[in-house]
Amino acid sequence: MISFSQVRKSYRGGHEVLRDLSFDVGDGELVFITGRSGAGKSTLLKLIAAIERPTGGTVLVNGQNIGSMRRPAIPYLRRNLGLIFQDQKLLYDRSVLDNVMLPLAFTGHLHKDALRRAHAALDKVGLLAREKANPITLSGGEQQRLCIARAVVNRPGILLADEPTASLDSASAAEVVEMFRAFNQVGVTVLIATHDEALVERLHPRVLELKQGRLVQ
């Protein structure tokens, strides 16, 4: 499903973020990517989502080569990915429900069907009662759950989460992690970038540890 082979990524000025990275993630795996700040965790996720392109090596996602992928094909790749960010990237000029409906707007769903799916996603994350609220009125944990609902509403095969618990208290973080585990248990491949070691110890997942852009474990 996801395959990295001798992947390098450097930015302008020659700063190399990832170096000779090789690993595979199979269908339905739960993988944690750990490492200190600046180790390259976010860049790794961005390569999978084609937000960044590798400088060298090969990144394959669902058989598609990210390095040679043409620009018009990228949206279709992303529709099979659920992206969750530390800063949530929610739209605060619309309701909770409209935020979740957004990914369904460009996949051609009938309004009735889209509404049903959005309600189901909100129900899964426990926010159905807040569907009409503005996201700004939600707590940090609720906003992260809303972000998860938006990520899963299109029923993606892969979930990518970048520091999803970084700004949450321990109770909210535990809730969010349980959600990821639940999605993983129904076959969704989940990759979580985190530096929260307690989280890793609690779940005992497969861990890819990065140090200065290299895989150490």
Binding site: A49, P75, L81, L91, F106, G108
Partner: protein
């Protein structure tokens, strides 16, 4: 196909909702476009009306052929026969010098002048009704001058030719103004869309992240440009219609003094629809240029 149409319908409705949600900016933009379009459109309307007037006047151009004083009855009869044979002349009407004098006597303020005359100074004349255009009239005039017993040939619609030249000049001026203001309309839309893109930067970034295609993201901006342009065209038509109604109030008074009920006419439905389509297309063009220039700069990070 259904999904594609549904997305277009939803996008168009969303555009209308967004425009209605920001009524002050929408009205202001539409009015700027409307006024810019109303100027050349009003000029074109006036020229069109003047053009139709001159067409009516020159519908059957008349030529007056004045004979020499020594033209005998036999000469006149022979000349009438020759005139009838010339192509381009529809009717030939003879007006004797006596008939002409009688006509003059019937004219207001001329009776006293005519009574004071000791002899009839007027010549015999033919009034010809032609079916010729301006270029052919010149050739006809030369042909008539070459005939015997003809003292003077006068084309009664010569002044119309000058007016038509002036109208052609006016049309060119209006066309130049229209082109300049069309650029203005494109520029206004370009800027409106640029601001809209900046306002929605976050939404565009998120949409790209979660799988929206460029076409999907561009679509609302195209509809905004198109709708704004078409509404601007509608405003231009409304402005010019109101101006025409106001002008007609004064024009009708003036026309009545000349025993006429002439008034300015407005564009027909096909012309109005063509203008709306043209304005909408200019709006779309402005949006296209703006989106092409600014949207690619917004990429998720």
């Amino acid at each position: 196909m259904n999904a594609w149409l549904r997305q277009h319908r939803q996008t168009f409705m969303l555009t209308l909702v967004r425009m209605a949600g920001n009524p002050f900016a929408t009205v202001l933009n539409v009015m700027v476009i409307g006024v810019a379009l109303a100027l050349p459109l009003g000029g074109y309307l006036l020229l069109q009306n003047l053009g139709s007037v001159t067409k009516q006047v020159t519908g059957n151009p008349q030529v007056s052929v004045f004979l020499t004083p020594n033209a005998a009855k036999a000469d006149i009869a022979a000349l009438e026969t020759r005139l009838k044979l010339i192509s381009g002349i529809r009717t030939v009407r003879f007006i004797s010098r006596e008939q002409a004098l009688e006509g003059l006597k019937r004219s207001e303020n001329m009776a006293d002048v005519v009574a004071a005359l000791q002899s009839n100074p007027l010549p015999d004349a033919f009034v010809l009704e032609t079916a010729s255009d301006a270029a052919r009239l010149e050739r006809l005039e030369a042909e008539l001058r070459a005939l015997p017993k003809i003292a003077h040939v006068q084309i009664d619609s010569a002044w119309v030719k000058k007016l038509q030249s002036l109208l052609a000049l006016g049309r060119t001026a209006v066309a130049i103004l229209a082109i300049l203001l069309a650029f203005g309309l494109v520029a206004v839309t370009f800027n409106t869309i640029r601001l809209q893109i900046l306002t929605q930067k976050e939404e565009i970034e998120v949409s790209k992240l979660i799988g929206a295609t460029d076409a999907f993201i561009r679509r609302p901006f195209f509809y905004l440009g198109l709708t704004q342009g078409a509404l601007g065209g509608l405003a231009a038509l409304a402005i010019d219609y109101a101006c025409m109604r106001i002008l007609n109030l004064s024009l009708l008074e003036l026309s009545r003094l000349y025993g006429s009920d002439y008034r300015l006419g407005f564009f027909g439905l096909p012309d109005c629809l063509a203008l709306l389509a043209f304005a909408g297309m200019l709006g779309w063009l402005g949006a296209y240029m703006s989106v092409s220039r600014h949207l690619s700069a917004i990429e998720p990070r």
